[in-house]
Subunit: 827 residues, 2 copies
């Protein structure tokens, strides 16, 4: 290993696992002609702005001024698509194409154009010379379309700008689409990415009865931008073993000679499709699911297949130089311009297009009809989308709440509702998570949908394993795969929720970024349907990761999300159980968003009954009068919070302040919908400055206890009246260790004592009393810390701390302390 | 597949690929005793705060109030480590242990303690009863240490809090450490992550002559938190094929019976070590590198091995319930407390510890001595670190700069210097990148160090492939693997640089987060050496991704980094070539940071000669007097920039303003070191408010053109005097399409015209002239856009725009327009 190995060359007569020559002479001739038409379109897109049929001799004025676009994988992708067309017609298949290789859009766009779909959705791109000219020019041209299978591409739900997600997207699309086959081209470049490398294991989570099939075609193009690919430079034995190891049955198709390659691909694809249908039939007729060794194809062909092999003494076809624009200097090099022209003409455009530039009739017949055309597949446009049947979340409310006294678990409460969401939407909703659903206290969903598991079983699985061949919960320890499945699932029109620990959601920052970009761009595409929102529930939050320590403390995903377009992102931090229910109902009802909900999974004090919770979540931000001191008067200080754990500490700070300075007027504000803080000019949820001031005041100190990094609040509010002077935000500041919750809060200055001290330090009129009260609060803090460190847990009164103010049904009592029981801050 | 498969049970007599019983009766007895001592320590850490030798009957008062820590993988890890000890002594091996399975620290800490290392570095944790008590109590206890192999853990350079990087870290550590073997436990949970799944391919990048070896032990524990693992539930045939496919030679060791398992592991490890030594000998004696099928071990043993099999009617050992604290209710359940006590005693602590709690002498002798003790391996503490020999970057300067007129490529210039950094540090510096080094214009480094490639070769590789068995550039299309290699390389004391496209660096957000946390925590550990900085160079920046479109536009990595502790992160945005050189020299000289440098790879206008560049970079932020209008007078407006492309536009805006309103005093400010914007209270690089005001003013409008999302500047400056009123930041706002650079800038309001209009709109005293000038600027903008859209490229005068002011060597001339040539904005 590691030396010259000529068996890895992609050139020559086809070598293939499956033998046979299923194509008649005529089929072979037509298939090849269709491919030539496709490839003519591909290089046309890359080079031409005029003279699309080469009716005139090619001259520099016909070329785009800046040549862009990628040629490397086009032939292999077009080749594969075209051979699938034959089988779609033969077996009436429902096929979605997922284009994994980077920048492979020309091949996809060409198919869409040849199938007539492109002209159907873009009326100005007609099937004639003028349309062809526009079709060519718009590609990788300012104001036009990109070199990936972007949202503008009919039949695409996978852009592939960032590599690595073709397989997981494909699986997401076929879950609960039992008749769908996702023909998935996988680049050998993208195969080196981590997300792709593990996504091959998705077969252990696919049920052959209720789900469709993914048929991967690993495209061994051989090269990336400037390097060979790993998988193209290992032995046949290793490569075959790898995919057997991943659980697939690999079929090889290798070579460059078209006559034999067409026959080999036709035979191999048919074998693969037949096996898929056979496995599905077996499982469906017996009702017994199993994990087949699903077929996959390894297509080894030259990079830039059909380009000139050598240009100016350097290899082009079959080498990395064919990655992007294959001959870049055609405008300045007349010899290369002639070479390009002869390359164009080698596809014999006169034979495949009529003189008006329309694909000739005998080739048009090769494509399937209507929605069977791959580029018209409705699944790629979420066409079957149905709204979820959501049970009335009010019925799951935590009842009889005494605010700040009732102690309950919001997450398990919400899980009861989620269980019934699962139960009521058994083919259109799935819950995804990297092995944390149980840990995140959502385990009650298993009553309606178990964890899908097509791996082998052991007898002990009966002991609470909750595994089943058919289920609604998808758990694999790969955030990438879970997110990729979910993206594929929602983009194909179904609904889902990803639950994950907060600290590790950064693993999929880039995937969420890309999904946001897809949704935003899709908004601009007239024919695109809205897709269900992608929902992310973050638990195991920073403030309860005291015991797991520093590596488990990172609430910064919100910063990443908040950089995305306000049109597509929403962030919610419900403070308690009923607000969590209300928020979850809202996000699962929505479309075209990425919703992020942050909620701790531990027991918490409860504050709002259901009607109050709905009202609060509807407003997104509000004054909690019952938690304020003399709310009808002008406040001396505003205590605000956003996030569940920090709300508890902020309320405790109000209590401390009231205890020690009873005459202080305190306003308490809670934020559920983070974007309320932003200006309404910048985000549709944003408050106007007037609304903002009415809640937060212009000129009073605001002590804002925030769940995440404090700078995020500053970033959202920097222009708010008085914010620079008066807004003091506390949040996580990367001060972590193995701690108790109290100690973690103290380190980061989000604890009740620090907040209370912070408040009095901002009130100059108290200055004469400040030092005494400060010291008292400090003493309390130290005593609590000491207890915590001694025993390894926070003192009882910190953990079960209760709000000393009671709230009457009639309204606000303000400082009624009658129900103050067991509170910890009394001296 | 998919049904009960009893061959996958981890219980029973050992089954192993390698046969033989290399251990004598006595060795077997002692090895088992040493393991018992280890496991006693493990459960001691999880449960006990007192009575460490169980001299008293176990009672609730001896238990920690909150039980934390993970038991699941401890036995397998201790078992493996102990068997390696024998071979270290036998062959005088240099072994580093990388602990991949999540929360496996007890096993590692126990070894360190038994080897005496722990007491050497932590003097209060003595090898006696009192020390043992402290050792137990501190684990997962507030103020103590975590349940991962954190920086506090001797012998560790891999924390494993976030899973997936054990293999890439191990490879990073053994590169250029030819005698090192990284014994790497890989969890079957972490094996499901994408980063881990692709990192197995690292063997294609390891040279058996110049690098050491990684010996992976895949620990088939069988379960994650609450699920079986994928790899433990596929057939033996698939599992074996998978690792053959990955290029390894897998050896199985499976079972639970200790007598046979000890012999099997001893024989198997010895076989693996012998093969490693044999391959190395073969390559080194012939001087001919090759890629062996490196050995790896698959250890299938019960999760929580040696815990009780069943507790209260549920499986514990060999099931997911053994993941964390195995019997959680011992404080409240007397029966379980007795069970725990008998479990402790089953390890026969009296036999393995003397009455003072010290490991008995005959067992102490099993461990290697001095630095051969795995937990004392100096590599894990970067002990061999040497500073880089850096060539004088001044000699690589772009010379004879006419500011704003000279057009040159800063990246290729810097690449010349980088080439010599490579050449001068052939065993201590590597350049890493995901197939983008050439594309990023750094290809000249190949002259001194080619791309390492141990995959197979084809003849065409001679045509500019730049591949070699031995080299200094590491390219695999996996940002995760590149980053993991780099982390391992720097944590083991060597130097490196990762180059990557800006948009896709989000892929490793979480890895960089974790590395920052490691460095920050290591600062608090007295015995930890500083490590070379981890350097990231981002090119293919957002403003030049106009043609690749929306998916390739995301400059938000800076937001992620800026959330990390100011002690460890640095961000630089050099505006031109000489500043890039100066910055790169600085970052490669530094320690203990994560340095992020953002610089475009395209040709750019140059501004500063080398002395000016050094002065500017040293200050980090400064007024460019030569680019200001009447800089000695009070400015009417401040135009500021941070980032190379946006600096060009900001300077052009100055020129436009000066052209149209000659009497306007304009101050131009450039920021290289982003943290200068932050308060010095929050970051060591931050300016004081006074310094900030001296540069930016308190009360003049500041039009700040920023490379990244504008909110980041607001986040850093929200407290600066006057910032809320006067600071107007332009930056990327998620407005992308297929564009020209100009059009992309216009969409995001970072173009020269918008900036100039923005400025005049902030100058009320110009109001009477505003509408005319505004319209003139708008007309210019529209004309330029029209040209761009027509031709697909920006007009010549936009692309080669030159600064109309000349700078004399003597100093500032301010508005000398003598050299204004070919500028585009004249009407």
């Amino acid at each position: 290993m590691g030396d010259i190995n000529l068996s890895l060359t992609p050139f020559g007569i086809a070598r293939s696992t499956v033998k046979g020559e299923p194509l008649s002479e005529e089929e072979l001739r037509k298939t090849d002609a269709y491919l030539r038409a496709s490839l003519y379109l591909c290089i046309g897109m890359i080079y031409l702005r005029d003279n699309p049929l080469l009716k005139e001799p090619l001259s520099p004025k016909h070329l785009k001024a800046r040549l862009l676009g990628h040629w490397g994988s086009d032939t292999g992708q077009a080749f594969t698509w075209i051979h699938m067309n034959r089988l779609i017609k033969k077996y009436d298949l429902d096929v979605l194409f997922v284009s994994g290789p980077g920048h492979g859009a020309p091949a996809i766009l060409a198919q869409s154009y040849l199938e007539g779909v492109y002209s159907e959705v873009y009326h100005s791109i007609t099937e004639d010379e003028e349309g062809l000219k526009r079709f060519f020019k718009q590609f990788s041209f300012p104001g036009g379309i990109g070199s990936h299978a972007t949202p503008e591409t009919p039949g695409s739900l996978h852009e592939g700008g960032e590599l690595g997600y073709s397989i997981s997207h494909a699986f997401g699309a076929v879950f609960d689409h039992p008749d769908l086959i996702a023909l998935t081209m996988v680049g050998d470049g993208e195969s080196e990415t981590g997300p792709l490398a593990t996504s091959w294991h998705s077969t252990k989570f696919l049920n052959p009865i209720t789900d469709g099939a993914v048929l991967p075609v690993l495209h061994l193009n051989g090269y990336k931008i400037n390097n060979p690919t790993v998988l193209s430079r290992i032995s046949h034995e290793e490569l075959e073993a790898l995919f057997i190891g991943y659980g697939w049955k690999p079929y090889f198709v290798e070579g460059s000679d078209f006559t034999t390659m067409h026959q080999a691909m036709a035979a191999t694809l048919e074998q693969a499709v037949s096996e898929i249908r056979e496995y599905q039939k077996q499982a469906r007729s017996t009702g017994k699911a199993f994990r087949p060794r699903w077929p996959m194809i390894i297509l080894r062909s030259p990079k830039g297949w059909t380009a000139p092999r050598d240009v100016s003494g350097h290899h082009l076809e079959g080498y990395w130089r064919a990655h992007q624009v294959p001959i870049p200097d055609v405008a300045s090099n007349p010899e290369h311009l002639r070479l390009l022209e002869s390359w164009f003409k080698a596809y014999k455009p006169d034979e495949v297009f009529d003189k008006n530039g329309r694909l000739i009739e005998e080739l048009r017949e090769l494509a399937p009809k209507g929605n069977r055309r791959i580029s018209a597949n409705p699944v790629a446009n979420a066409a079957g989308k149905r709204a979820l049947r959501l049970p009335d979340f009010r019925k799951y409310a935590i009842e009889n709440i005494t605010p700040g006294v009732t102690f309950a678990n919001g997450m398990t409460t919400m899980a009861g509702w989620l269980r019934d969401v699962v139960g009521d939407n058994l083919t259109t909703f799935r819950l995804f998570g990297p092995d944390e659903t149980e840990s995140n206290k959502l385990g009650s969903v298993y009553a309606k949908g178990k964890k899908v598991w097509l791996g082998d079983y052991l007898p002990e699985d009966d002991d609470g394993g909750n595994l089943a061949h058919e289920g609604r919960v998808m758990e694999m320890l790969s955030e990438h795969t879970c997110e990729g499945w979910l993206e594929g699932y929602v983009l194909s029109g179904r609904h889902g929720l990803l639950n994950s620990y907060e600290p590790f959601i950064h693993i999929i920052d880039s995937m969420v970024n890309q999904h946001c970009k897809w949704i935003e761009k899709a908004l601009e595409v007239e024919w695109r349907n809205k897709v269900p929102s992608l929902n992310i529930l973050l638990t195991a939050v920073v403030w309860r990761q005291d015991h797991n320590g520093f590596t488990h403390q990172d609430p910064g995903f919100l910063d990443v999300v908040s950089n995305k377009s306000p049109e597509v992102v929403r962030i919610y931090l419900p403070p308690d159980g009923n607000t969590l229910l209300s928020v979850m109902d809202h996000v699962l009802s929505s479309s075209n968003y990425v919703n992020v909900v942050v909620a701790d999974k531990q027991d918490h004090l409860q504050f709002l009954d259901m009607e109050e919770a709905i009202a609060h979540c509807t407003k997104g931000v509000g004054i909690w009068e019952w938690a304020s001191v003399r709310p009808t008067e002008e406040p001396d200080v505003v205590i605000a919070s956003c996030g569940d754990v920090v709300t508890q500490e902020a309320l405790a700070a109000v209590a401390l302040l009231h205890e020690h300075i009873p005459e202080l007027n305190i306003r308490f504000v809670n934020v559920v919908d983070l974007y309320k803080l932003m200006s309404h000019n910048d985000h549709p949820h944003g408050l106007t400055d007037r609304e903002y001031s009415a809640i937060f005041t212009d000129d009073k100190p605001i002590i804002f206890n925030f769940h995440s990094y404090p700078f995020l609040v500053h970033k959202l509010t920097y222009k708010r009246p008085g914010s620079a002077q008066h807004l003091h935000v506390r949040g996580y500041k990367e001060k972590g260790n193995i701690d108790t919750p109290l100690e973690l809060a103290i380190r980061n200055q989000t604890d009740r004592y620090t907040l209370a001290i912070d408040a009095i330090d901002r009130l100059p009129h108290l200055r004469n009393r400040t030092s005494v009260i400060r010291q008292r609060l400090k003493d309390l803090q130290i005593a609590a810390e000491h207890d915590a460190f001694e025993n390894g847990i926070d003192p009882e009164h910190i953990r079960t701390w209760t709000w000393p103010f009671a709230k009457t049904k009639a309204g606000v009592t303000g400082d009624n302390r009658a129900k103050a029981t067991g509170i910890g801050f009394t001296e």
